[in-house]
């Protein structure tokens, strides 16, 4: 289990516990459950890399405590 931090820099910062073999899509669902934003309106990125839904956190080398950028669309 790892815990990642997603910050939208507009006042919402969520910590989400997840597995490393979860996909970004799963992570979005968890974030959606915590924040109330629809999962398909969430975009997770790091700098200019927009993370794709079907790729796992391990493949993106997301580790425990890492921060990700949270955007909405």
């Amino acid at each position: 289990m790892i815990e990642v931090v997603l910050n939208d820099r507009l006042g919402k910062k969520v910590r989400v516990k997840c597995n490393e073999d979860d996909t970004i899509g799963d992570l979005k669902k968890l974030v959606a459950a915590q924040t109330g934003t629809r999962a398909d309106k969430i975009r997770i990125q790091k700098w200019y890399n927009i993370y794709k839904d079907h790729i796992t956190l391990a493949d993106y080398e997301i580790h425990d405590g890492m921060g990700l950028e949270l955007y909405y669309d």
Binding site: D26, I50, K52, D73
Partner: protein, 392 residues
Amino acid sequence: MANRTDPLAKSIHGTNPQNLVEKIVRSKIYQSTYWKEQCFGLTAETLVDKAMELDHTGGTYGGNRKPTPFLCLALKMLQIQPDKDIVVEFIKNEDYKYVRVLGAFYLRLTGTVADVYQYLEPLYNDYRKIRQKLSDGKFTLTHVDEFIDELLTKDYSCDTALPRIQKRWVLEASGTLEPRRSALEDDFEEEEEDKEDEQPMEIDEPNGREKHDHYRGRSPTRDRDRDRKHERHHRDRDYDRDRDYDRDYGRGRERDRDRDREGDRDRDRDRDRDRHRVRDDEYGRDRDRERDRDVRERGRRDRDRGRRRSRSRSRSRDRRERDREDGEYRRRRGRGSASPRGRAEDGGPRDEPKKRKEKKEKKGEGNAPDPNDPEIIEMNKLRASLGLKPLK
């Protein structure tokens, strides 16, 4: 501003019609090349040509959520607000399915409830295929009737929140709408009649209702009865669907209630951690000693500097860690009667770094979640409801 709404447009649902498309999606549309190149200066007539060229529906797609031409044209219609007759013609036309779908989508966004049902339900009989672009940019196959069903029963379609409409049976109960007659109903009737002709008087029919019918034989009221039965059957189906929705709704509520209970859970967790601390006491003893040395040393340094540092030390704590702890810290502090300065005196901050160290330690150990931690249990419950595996 080139993107402003037609000044003659009437406000819909109490706002500017363009506001029916969410702000973020709207700005994406304004930025898109299709909007800038193809939708500039369109009128109700020229828009038809563009609508005829459509070859797929859908909302936004791709990593940066480009809007589909379908969505751009829908926004254009909201902007120029064509007459209702034009929209109805869009829906009634037989040749161009995407024009029909676009008209239906627009009517669903802007029309009154009665209009929506009146004009969209006949499209349930349109079984033509349409292409829909998914959010990942892939296409999928749907049909016009499926799309219409989505418009009539869901509250979200093509990345657009649809205005709420009453359930069909509400309108039927209030008399605004006639009960719907499916195109298949005639077929059903014919089939039933065929069946009855085949076996005219079978008494030991397993189905109770059928038997009832047969007992009544060929009374003159029979036809009417059957009609009513059909109707009821149909309406029952609608009710069923509604009940399904209600159940979903209820589940959502329940989850809310769970969230309300979060306060309790936090307290539990705190208590839990306290217990851990007690149990792990001897285990962390040498770490304690280490820390004691730290404190002593720091105390000496403080004395050397000849300055009180008890407050500023807690300020200068590593920022990231403080962020992590902040919520709990504040909560705990709020519950305890001690003021921040009071705590510094009664040995409060002593506990603080120890707990933090413990937490870090726990994370270091392969990150295995404690299965009894209420937070983990909660998280696993949530994951189960989303169809995910439990936390490892």
